[in-house]
Symmetry: C2
Subunit: 399 residues, 2 copies
């Protein structure tokens, strides 16, 4: 059981502080350098990009988080510090050293994240001047959230209070969307801070599970960044009975809810997006194929363009399902668009087109549901419509 904390942020849990400054990495007067830290050491877990091309901060943070603990995260926007060879690694380590000096911690307790243009050196002079100016406070979560935004048009943050077996703890999360910076590279960053006492084994498992059914089910355009990462810090200040695999249900549920909220916020705020698309696949042979089918449909350019035009063009949904790899028996397939059945057992079902178009036009959320009637596999994926504005944003860099 959990409750939303009004105006919650990544610093809603006890003992977490954050702050941000404008260091000048971005050209405009925006926050672009930030720190999230805990008053006490945290257990830490991370999930990183699967790209073969990893940014320097990802490589460094993977090393630092391997021991399962951390106490602070330093982040910059405006420069990805990716594809910079040895210089990039030295600069990421430099950032960790500067944050460690500022906070009186060891560099190994610092995680680093960057988002922005790739193939451009990190402006270390600005980082060096900026980090000492950051003043982490209890109320700094919202500033932290704004500092990692790039083409995001809305902040993405959420905190919940969990009431589990008589004790209370808090989970706060913040993310930046899969928007390009400047516009250069899609990066997803997510930071979650909790005061719950959580076992070292359960923490990474819980994060992976939450990420798998939230961020990993979002597609804006199918591209993956060298900088993607999600971090979870647990400082244990809530003093609850330690959470582990056998009693972690409430924690997992709340963590997944926070991640899902942030993931859907990303999809809704995709570049040029006007609608959130939610695709649920039910009755697949197994959950793996359900996931694959839901993701394929949610990321199909043809489906996304049709939804943008309020076009109940369900043939494109079925075509995307067909190429997803999931087993399909056409004569068992049912398809629903905004809860209206458009295909039943593989044959078109008549519907009033004008009504459907009108419903699509008046809706910011479009629900696509497919029932495969082959097994128990179920999954939901989120995406957004494909608009002319997406192309404009991503082709007008030099002009």
């Amino acid at each position: 059981m959990f409750n939303l904390i009004p105006s919650g942020s990544v610093t809603s849990a006890s003992g977490f502080l954050a702050g941000a400054v404008h260091a000048g990495i971005k050209s405009e007067d925006e926050l672009d350098l930030a720190i999230l830290c805990s008053e006490v050491p945290c257990k830490a877990a991370g999930v990183f990009t699967t790209s073969q091309i990893k940014s320097a901060p990802v490589i460094l943070s993977q090393k630092h988080i391997a021991k399962g603990r951390a106490q602070a995260i330093v982040v910059n926007s405006g420069c990805a510090n990716a594809c910079m060879g040895g210089q990039g690694l030295a600069d990421a380590l430099g950032m960790a050293n500067l944050a460690a000096a500022k906070l009186g911690l060891s560099p190994e307790d610092i995680l680093v994240a960057s988002t922005g243009i790739i193939g451009v050196p990190l402006p270390m002079d600005k980082i060096r001047t900026g980090i000492p100016k950051i003043k982490p406070t209890r109320g700094g979560g919202h500033d932290f959230c704004r500092s990692i935004m790039t083409t995001d048009t809305r902040p993405k943050e959420m905190a919940v209070q969990v009431d589990s077996k008589g004790t209370k703890f808090t989970i706060g999360g913040v993310a930046k969307g899969i928007g390009m910076i400047h516009p250069n590279l899609a990066t997803m960053l997510c930071f979650i801070a909790t005061d719950a006492v959580v076992s070292a084994d359960f923490l990474p498992a819980a994060l992976q599970k939450a990420v798998d059914c939230s961020f990993n089910m979002v597609s804006i355009d199918g591209d993956t960044s060298p900088n993607d990462c999600a971090f979870l810090l647990a400082n244990g200040l809530a003093g609850n009975e330690p959470i582990d695999f056998d009693n972690g249900g409430d924690f997992q549920e709340a963590l997944t809810a926070v991640c899902t909220h942030l993931a859907k916020s990303m999809a809704r705020d995709g570049e040029g997006a006007t609608k959130l698309i939610e695709v649920t696949v039910e009755g697949a042979e197994d959950p793996v194929w359900a996931r694959q089918a839901a993701r394929t449909i949610a990321s199909s350019p043809l489906v996304k363009a049709a939804i943008h035009g309020n076009d109940p063009n369900w043939g494109r949904i079925v075509a995307a399902l067909g190429r997803s790899g999931a087993r399909v028996r056409e004569d068992r397939l049912d398809v629903y668009l905004n809860d209206v059945c458009v295909m039943k057992q593989g044959c078109p079902t008549p519907f009033i087109k004008a009504e459907m178009i009108s419903a699509l036009s008046n809706s910011d959320n479009v629900f696509i549901r497919l029932c495969l009637h082959l097994g128990d596999g179920q999954a939901t994926a989120w995406g957004c419509d494909l608009s002319e504005e997406y192309v404009r944003i991503n082709s007008r860099y030099t002009t």
Copy 2:
């Protein structure tokens, strides 16, 4: 060794005839129903969509071609005859029966293909009236080509004369692009006719090999149609020494060249496209990963949008490579854009940006080359840029 036949078509090889009519399946006064036939029985091979959702004509043609022979192909545009259950299969068979009666052949010797809107019944009355009016002639290849065009803006056909070991034979091919119809579903159709004598075993192998490095390396938007198919008919009228695995080099080379030309024509004519993008990956661990990497880059929306904007934004190329699954050692990676090195051994290489932008702006063909320096794997893929026009075409169905 082969030579291009000026104004060649699918009927350039001896003994092939074609004709087309406007049957009224498309609303405008365009050719929409056509027959390609041979004066004598042919050995036949086919490659079909990998989608789990197969159109009725694909299901029927797979059955008919299983015996390795055919004598005619009947095709309609304007209606895909897909997702129509048992009615769809009956209608596809009806089309084969009508064509067989017209040509005095057995229905099993007829292959059927359709392209168009899915989930709509085939107007059998129009097919029934139209087929008897088709008059196949030696010069009918160009009409056949136009009859299968949908949003294609240019016809796609080519014929070559092959001089192999003292005998001559001809290969003619025609295709329709991966443009949506009306706009509904992307379908790729390809028909190839040769008068060469080819062994029954070598024919399907040669077609598969040619398709793998041509059509299977083209991406417009990553979507796959239930109707995709490529057919190869060989009527043997050239009287050459039978071509088989041991002496098939010239045939394979010419067949691949025809398929590659048609495939590149498709990419160039992609919906809303203004540029052809050619991506070559060299030095991959093996050819499979080279293919995967080249295809991933050629179909990345971010790469495609950047090329549309003449933006030398190579970070997106590297990011797409990174997520392709191919093994990459960043410190060995070289990247070339239009033959200018932009990344060497994993680090950015300075280039004159204004010159690059100007070169991109003035070019209809953009060449991307990546050297992985890990092995001998090599592959080339083709795609097109992503424009606002693509989104307009695919979102304005109902408005």
